[in-house]
């Protein structure tokens, strides 16, 4: 066991001496860990929000009776269920949208008498029970909600519910830790009457055993099912799995760059202190002691970096929560995540990860340190020359890894053996590792090619720079890989985003063909599940300007045990009224026979193709449909089935619509039509009415917001790569104080020394960006063709954003170039006489 005194003398003193270098490594680790933990917190909170939503208000119930299509059902069944199981709780729920603060809330109508324990007031005067029951619009809100939006008892809030605007009066504040944070409670009777849902329930929560659940299952009509809450939760979790893994994976790459930084710092300590280590060994220190000392150095940096990372993670968590909330709400269904604080568990995970990362990063340099012999001299390039003999095996191993990465990604593309693109992620890691191993060889080739021309152009500084780089090829390879990984990440993400945007634009052209789109204003997702009032549909149809109305209805259906979105449209109307010049040529032939189109996601996930037959559970029993076509859907990440609405009438007994696509007669002024429609509806309905152009713009805006988190990741990547180059050059300055002093003695100016460092940064920058570009394109192909396909099934046509990439690459290059300036400042502080006369 080494003494604390030795650690203090040998390690802490060194950390103090190399403050700036240590700080850079700490920041690098902190950024990686922070990003990772921020994304993790956001995904965890999204899952917690799902769980809270499914668990509902009665947290101890373990079964749920619900409609197989996700719609409200007739409440008669409740009495029959109650006869079998007394512990059953009827619930009618809907999402409300507070447009003033742009937040969604979940309004729950419950049997407050039966669930009295749920409605405990927060304080004696927090609750006006009489008002709550007598006033139809009375609601109870949680203390969390009250605090969050500064709403108090007696306040009246305006809320969009279904397709209307309602006033809700706060009758009391509830003090419950088990209730979901965004929960609002109404008496179920008041709910039914106030929102015109008399006779309906959304679900029935039950506390039952297996036998009772079987008994209940027997009495349920075909449109209802009884499910275990755990199963529902699992199903819902799968929706965010892909999203979560993708973000988590990208943040993992940021950690990888952090590892490079820390590796570099510990390695520099070892190289710089070779003589001291030799003396220490001479005094009797064993190899284990030396290894432990440098591991401790790594762990100290890792510990401080992780602690700072937790703080960074808190900020990242806040923004990630917003991004995740927005994406899930748009793609799946509205969720509200109010909790974004890092818990003790998260902090411990961050710390554990940080320490693990620092152990990995410091392992190799610590091992190198232990190999230093007691009589080690100050001979330059000891480690570098040792690695030189490894260059060929490294190149071979690197190429093998890159090839393996490509092969496993192809395997994932072909067979997708897991629910998420695990093999493709592995493939990308293999590729990064492979490029890392070949980077010293690559850099040596670049130096060999550029040495002469650079010598001619930059004279002395060129010769010294190239000599230094050649003599420290492994060190510079680490900096090069920091830049390469960051550029690769940026290039891959930009290519993905650009390709996606391009594909989305052509999808919009194909699919957004009607003149006006209408949906309830309370619906903030791509798909709405609450129907529009019949009066709205009749009113729209009654306008003389209207040529046709495509009534669109969405339901949740089960396919192979997983919930997917089913859309029912009026194919005949689409066919008849899609105007020339607008490409509405989809769903060809869907109106004939029992046919459906399925999204590419389902096709990939279940290996379904045109001509296959799928069975869908309907209230009339299982019905078989033939797959007519597969299509790309950017609207949901959980799979989408599209069919003609005649099947909605026939098998689901529904003829309502959740969204309307309105086709206007030739020559009608869309703006004036919308104005007229709004006037006719005003005061009675709260609808979102958009013309074709606005909807297209909105789709693009949603897309941009969804990808906002990736822009943040790109920014962090640039920052980390800057730190990587800075770290290496600074280390070089610290290690090369003697050489810099010699140059000064020979008459080299500070400007020439600055030129040397900026030139080093420039070479690292260019070489890193070139390698990163190759790696980035390879990764972008895997992102688009494998990860996207398995995760979301989106059809993305590969498109390279040359202009954007040129700009970003230029910024990255200038950034790395600027990384040479700070070390130049540090170099200027060197007193040449100290390092020359010292001897």
């Amino acid at each position: 066991m080494i003494s604390l005194k030795l650690i203090r003398l040998f390690i802490l003193k060194n950390i103090r001496n190399e403050k700036f270098l240590t700080v850079l490594s700490i920041v690098g680790v902190a950024l990686g860990i922070g990003l990772f933990i921020g994304v993790k917190v956001a995904s965890d909170r999204a899952l917690a929000s799902f769980e809270s939503d499914i668990r509902g208000l009665s947290q101890n119930t373990d079964y749920e009776v619900l409609d197989i299509s996700g719609i409200d059902f007739n409440e008669h069944i409740y009495r029959d269920i109650l006869d079998i199981e007394g512990n059953s709780y009827p619930i009618l729920r809907v999402n409300g949208y507070l447009s003033a603060i742009q937040e969604s809330i979940s309004i729950n109508g419950i049997d407050t008498v039966k669930a009295a324990r749920l409605v405990q007031p927060a304080g004696r005067k927090a609750y006006d029970i009489e008002d709550f029951y007598k006033n139809l619009s009375s609601i109870l809100i949680t203390k969390g909600l009250s605090d969050k939006y500064s709403i108090k008892k007696g306040d009246i809030i305006e809320c969009l519910v279904y397709d209307k605007k309602y006033s809700l009066k706060i009758a009391g504040i509830l003090d419950s830790k088990t209730l979901p944070a965004d929960a609002v409670i109404m008496d179920i009777g008041n709910f039914q009457e106030y929102f015109n849902r008399t006779g309906y329930l959304s679900r029935i929560d039950l506390t039952a055993d297996e036998k009772t659940s079987r008994e209940i299952r027997r009495i349920l009509p075909p449109n209802l099912s009884i499910e275990r809450k755990e199963e529902l939760l699992k199903n819902r979790e799968s929706v965010v799995t892909s999203f979560r893994y993708n973000l988590q994976f990208i943040s993992l790459i940021a950690i990888l760059v952090g590892i490079f930084l820390l590796y570099n710092t510990v390695f520099i300590s070892v190289v710089k202190r070779r003589t001291e280590i030799g003396v220490l060994r001479g005094l009797g220190a064993g190899q284990k002691t030396v290894v432990t000392l440098f591991l401790v150095q790594g762990l100290i940096v890792g510990f401080v970096g992780s602690m700072l990372g937790i703080a960074v993670g808190q900020i990242a968590a806040y923004f990630s929560v917003l991004a995740v909330e927005r994406t899930i709400s748009t793609m799946y269904s509205t969720i509200s995540i109010s909790e974004y604080l890092i818990t003790k568990g998260d902090a411990l995970s961050a710390l554990a990860l940080g320490l693990l990362v620092s152990l990995i990063a410091s392992a190799i340099p610590s091992y190198e340190a232990s190999k230093i012999r007691p009589n080690e001299s100050l001979k330059e390039g000891t480690f570098e020359s040792k690695y030189k003999s490894c260059r060929k095996p490294f190149v071979f191993a690197g190429l093998s890894l890159i090839l393996s990465g490509v092969v496993v990604s192809c395997l994932d593309y072909r067979y997708a053996p897991f629910d998420f693109p695990f093999l493709a992620y592995m493939g990308i890691l293999f590729i990064i590792l492979g490029f890392t191993l070949i980077s010293p060889f690559y850099l040596s080739v670049i130096l060999r090619i550029a040495r002469k021309p650079a010598g001619r152009i930059f004279k002395a500084t060129g010769r010294i720079t190239f000599g230094d780089m050649k003599g420290n090829i492994y060190r510079f390879s680490v900096a090069l890989m920091s830049v390469a990984i960051s550029s690769a990440l940026i290039i891959a993400l930009l290519t993905l985003i650009f390709s996606f945007r391009h594909s989305l634009a052509s999808w919009i052209n194909r699919n957004i063909a009607a003149d006006v789109y209408i949906k309830p204003a309370s619906c903030t997702s791509n798909f709405c599940f609450y129907p529009l009032s019949d009066e709205v549909i009749s009113l729209v149809k009654s306008f003389p300007e209207v040529a046709g109305v495509d009534k669109f209805r969405t339901l949740h259906l089960e396919l192979f045990g997983r919930k997917v979105v089913a859309g029912f449209g009026d194919i005949a109307v689409q066919r008849e009224f899609t105007r020339a010049g607008r490409n509405g040529e989809r769903n060809r032939g869907l109106e004939y026979g029992k046919q459906v189109s399925i999204s590419n996601y389902l096709s990939t996930k279940y290996g379904l193709k045109k001509g296959d037959v799928i069975a869908l559970q309907t209230p009339e029993g299982k019905e078989k449909f033939t797959i007519n076509d597969t299509f790309s859907s950017y609207s949901t990440t959980s799979g989408f089935i599209y069919m003609d609405r005649k099947w909605l009438r026939e098998y689901w007994g529904l003829d309502d619509a959740t969204q309307l696509a309105v086709y206007l007669k030739e020559g009608v002024d869309t703006g004036r039509f919308i104005q007229g429609l709004k006037q006719a509806l005003s005061g009675k309905y709260a609808l979102e009415i958009m013309n074709n152009n606005n909807l297209r713009k909105k789709v693009i805006t949603i897309f941009n917001k969804t990808f906002s988190i990736t822009y943040a990741i790109e920014l962090i990547s640039i920052l980390v790569s800057l730190i990587g180059v800075l770290n290496t050059l600074l280390a070089l300055v610290i290690e090369r104080k003697r050489e810099i002093s010699i140059i000064r003695y020979l008459g080299g100016s500070w400007d020439q020394i600055k030129q040397m460092l900026v030139l080093s940064a420039g070479i690292v920058g260019i070489a890193g960006i070139v390698l990163g570009t190759v790696m980035g394109f390879l990764i972008s192909v895997i992102f688009i063709q494998v990860i996207n396909k398995i995760s979301f099934g989106w059809e993305i046509h590969f498109k390279i954003p040359f202009l954007y990439l040129s700009i970003v690459v230029l910024v990255l290059f200038l950034t790395t170039l600027s990384a040479g300036l700070l070390p130049a400042k540090v170099a200027r502080k060197i007193d040449p006489m100290r390092f020359i006369s010292f001897e």
């Binding site: 330059e380 000064r744 020979l746 008459g747 006369s837």
Partner: protein, 214 residues
């Protein structure tokens, strides 16, 4: 050519050089001997333009370099000074050829033939592509000598040039310095604590506690 007038230098409270007066002519070979800490290296650094005196003047070809700005001192070293150090101080990551060529390159000159010629003159022909770590101590000091002379400086400043060499190699190196300096009419200021090296010098100056004892 070089004239030091009442030069004083302090490092903190320590008075390192106490009123140094010295004249060095073209072609002079002066040895400055003294014990460790006597101020030899400080004196060399002042003449070499690495440092400025706190008091007094250093005139080189009539110009007072003690009033030079940093850029002017850099240029002065680059063009007029050749340094030879005890531990050679070669740049480790460039070849022998490039090390010798360095002062020329810093002066924006290439003159590869001249570099080859000097390498040959110091007896290292064939070692041009070698790196410093591939050479013996004596060979490294030969490179340092060639580097000190390649750009045709007026003054050679040698700080314990054979301090890390065995006596036989030391003699060879000293012979080489003397021969090349004479051939090229350079002023050489040699700092050493080895009194026998004074035999190479035309003048021997002793320094003790920052005072010259001529």
């Amino acid at each position: 050519m070089i004239k030091l007038i009442d030069v004083h230098k302090y490092y903190g409270d320590t008075h390192v050089l106490k009123g140094i007066n010295l004249d060095v002519e073209k072609g002079d070979f002066i040895s400055i001997t003294g014990s460790s800490g006597s101020g030899k290296s400080t004196l060399l650094n002042l003449i070499g333009g690495m440092d400025r005196p706190d008091r007094g003047s250093i005139l080189v070809a009539g110009e007072d370099i003690s009033s030079y700005k940093d850029e002017q001192l850099t240029l002065y070293r680059r063009e007029r000074i050749g340094f030879i150090f005890q531990f050679f101080n070669l740049l480790p990551n460039i070849t022998v050829f490039e090390n010798v060529q360095m002062p020329l390159l810093l002066n924006s000159l290439e003159e590869e033939d001249r570099v080859s010629e000097y390498i040959k003159r110091v007896g290292l022909a064939g070692k041009e592509a070698s790196y410093p770590y591939q050479l013996s101590g004596g060979e490294q000091q030969r490179v340092a000598v060639a580097r000190a002379l390649i750009h045709d400086p007026e003054i050679i400043l040698a700080d314990e040039p054979i301090g890390s060499l065995d006596s036989r190699t030391g003699i060879i190196i000293m012979d080489l310095i003397k021969q090349l300096a004479e051939e090229t009419h350079k002023a050489v200021i040699l700092v050493t604590h080895e009194h026998y090296l004074s035999n190479y010098a035309k003048r021997e100056i002793k320094i003790k506690d920052g005072v010259l004892l001529q």
